[in-house]
């Protein structure tokens, strides 16, 4: 079975009086896509629309050609979906094994023996070892691993992951990022993240949301190119510009004119993202 396409046309969504997504369109093919954006830019709402847990208030969401607003087609989408929510949503008093058995049942995996095999496989994928451990005794990193493991149950063709690296330590993040990047080509992976350099660089595509609309859609090198010629490294960043520490005593600055005692450097994906954010902050009408 081929990777499902994700097709959003003129989609908008509001929570009460708060506008989460303005009318926006987006088309994603198979492979992995990193969804980037500041807090409140609409990343989680976009992922919920793709995961079909919320319905678009205007426009259409089609996954693999199926209409997410039609209940029977929505169920078909969910049969191919693995979804890890932003907040891990783990019942504290259950054990790891019981929780994976529970989610396996929600995914219609039967009989219990088959669910147990899937649980073992998913735990192995994310590096969890103790099925009998209670969830409220897991570390923050292992909770994220478990959230990821439940999403992998049943071999989903569409994997929607909201902040999968949040709460993971510096050693674990690259491991999980590599796991996400190494998903089979028959799978479409949509992942929201703040860890631009660690995750977006290993994805096939990047989408940047700015105040509920698509500010950029392209490959990670194309996103990095947004900052071509305006990235500088210096030991003494001027106080008037935002600087990002990249190493002890080394800072990156994005500016049209070079700061004193700085050298020009090739932009990273994070630089491209930062440049886009600065552009939209300076020119709100740019979108």
């Amino acid at each position: 079975m081929s990777a499902p396409t994700v097709d959003l046309q003129g989609v908008s969504h509001r929570y009460g009086s708060t506008n989460a997504l303005s009318p926006m369109s987006l088309h994603l093919e198979g492979g992995s896509t990193a969804v980037l954006g500041a807090n409140g830019s609409g990343k989680s709402t976009l992922l919920r629309l793709i995961a079909t847990t919320v319905t678009a208030q205007s426009g259409s969401v089609r996954i693999g050609g199926l209409d997410a607003s039609v209940p029977t087609e929505r169920t078909s989408i969910r049969r191919r979906l693995g979804y890890a929510t932003q907040h891990d949503g783990l019942p504290p008093r259950m054990t790891v094994g019981a929780y994976l058995d529970y989610v396996g049942a929600l995914k219609e995996l039967t009989p219990a023996r088959r669910r147990a095999r899937w649980a073992q496989f998913a735990m192995g994928q994310v590096g969890l070892t103790d099925a009998g451990e209670r969830i409220d005794r897991l570390s923050g990193g292992n909770r994220r691993r478990l959230t990821l493991a439940q999403a992998l149950l049943g071999h989903p063709h569409l994997l929607v992951l909201d902040e999968p690296l949040a709460g993971l330590d510096g050693e674990t993040r690259p491991v999980v990022a590599a796991l996400i990047a190494s998903q089979p080509s028959a799978r479409t992976v949509v992942v929201a993240t703040h860890h631009t350099d660690e995750l977006a660089t290993v994805c096939d595509r990047a989408v940047v949301l700015v105040r509920g609309t698509v500010g950029f859609a392209g490959t990670p090198p194309e996103l990095a190119a947004q900052a071509d010629g305006i990235v500088w490294e210096t030991a003494t960043p001027p106080p008037s510009v935002a600087a990002r520490a990249v190493a002890p005593g080394r800072f990156r600055v994005i500016a049209r004119t070079p700061p004193p005692a700085s050298i020009s450097v090739a932009p990273s994906v994070q630089d491209g993202y930062d440049a886009l954010q600065l552009l939209h902050r300076a020119e709100p009408s740019a979108r």
Binding site: H13, H87, M94, G97, D101, G104
Partner: protein
């Protein structure tokens, strides 16, 4: 040493020092390591809970068992409510005087809230941390709601029926809480198609208690649980169920997200 111990020891040896087994025609180290993984999986699998074993023994469907055992309401808050209501019953049972009769009325007023509390804690984002995972799953969320609501309702009714035998008085007066219990639960379920289950249950509980206070003050305690209220409760139950079934698709997405 049992056969099982012997087998696991052999597999342990094979997996740590496979070179010792190379050349033995009957032994394939890779397969031994693989088999050890399978045995580890079986050893690591947590033992099923008592509730799970009981449900399987009575023939509950394989996919339904985890949905029942994961019901958030089968926990302390709801069990505490059952305990409090039971205390009312025991208190009333020890006082068969006029004061005891008042306590019976108090029990009848409180008892319907026990299953209501159970349903409030059984489903919805404010009670179930895994609610969004439930909604995103192919299993019909309405079915999950019905399974959980039925589970806590049945458990509540059994528990409250057990303490009812301790109550003073005779005949149907002692079970006058049953239809109101079904009515408030059904009404809260119907409201849950519009509101979070916990909010819906709080609204219904407030309305029920206000009704008890007002009617008892105006017409006396007997009117609160009389035939009129029983028939009305039956009607509310039926209407509530009809609304829930009609709006079953509202459980399918997060509350407040649909148009």
């Amino acid at each position: 040493m049992t056969t099982f111990d012997h087998l696991t020891s052999a597999l342990e040896l094979a997996s740590t020092t496979p070179e010792r087994f190379v050349g033995h025609a009957a032994v394939e180290p890779d397969r031994l390591v693989e088999n050890r993984f399978v045995i580890d999986a079986l050893l690591d699998a947590p033992a099923p809970s008592r509730l799970e074993r009981v449900l399987r023994r009575v023939g509950v469907a394989d996919l339904t068992v985890p949905l029942v055992t994961a019901t958030p309401a089968l926990r302390r808050g709801w069990l505490a409510a059952v305990g409090v209501a039971s205390l009312f019953a025991l208190s009333a049972a020890r006082n068969s005087t006029a004061e005891g009769f008042d306590r019976l009325q108090l029990f009848l007023a409180v008892a319907p809230l026990v299953p209501l509390l159970g349903v409030a804690l059984a489903f919805g984002p404010s009670s179930d941390p895994a609610h969004e995972t439930v909604v995103a799953a192919p299993v019909d969320a309405f079915r999950v709601f019905v399974i959980r609501a039925t589970t806590v309702l049945a458990a509540s009714i059994v528990a409250m029926a057990a303490v009812t035998v301790l109550l003073p008085g005779e005949g149907v007066a002692r079970v006058a809480w049953l239809l109101p219990a079904l009515a408030v639960t059904s009404a809260a379920s119907a409201l849950s198609t519009r509101l979070d289950t916990r909010v819906a249950s709080a609204v219904v509980a407030a309305v029920w208690l206000a009704f008890v206070v007002v009617v008892t003050s105006a017409s006396g305690a007997e009117a609160t649980f009389g035939a009129g209220v029983q028939w009305t409760s039956a009607l509310i139950t039926a209407v509530g169920v009809a609304i829930v079934v009609t709006r079953r698709r509202s459980f399918d997405v997060l509350a407040g997200s649909s148009t």
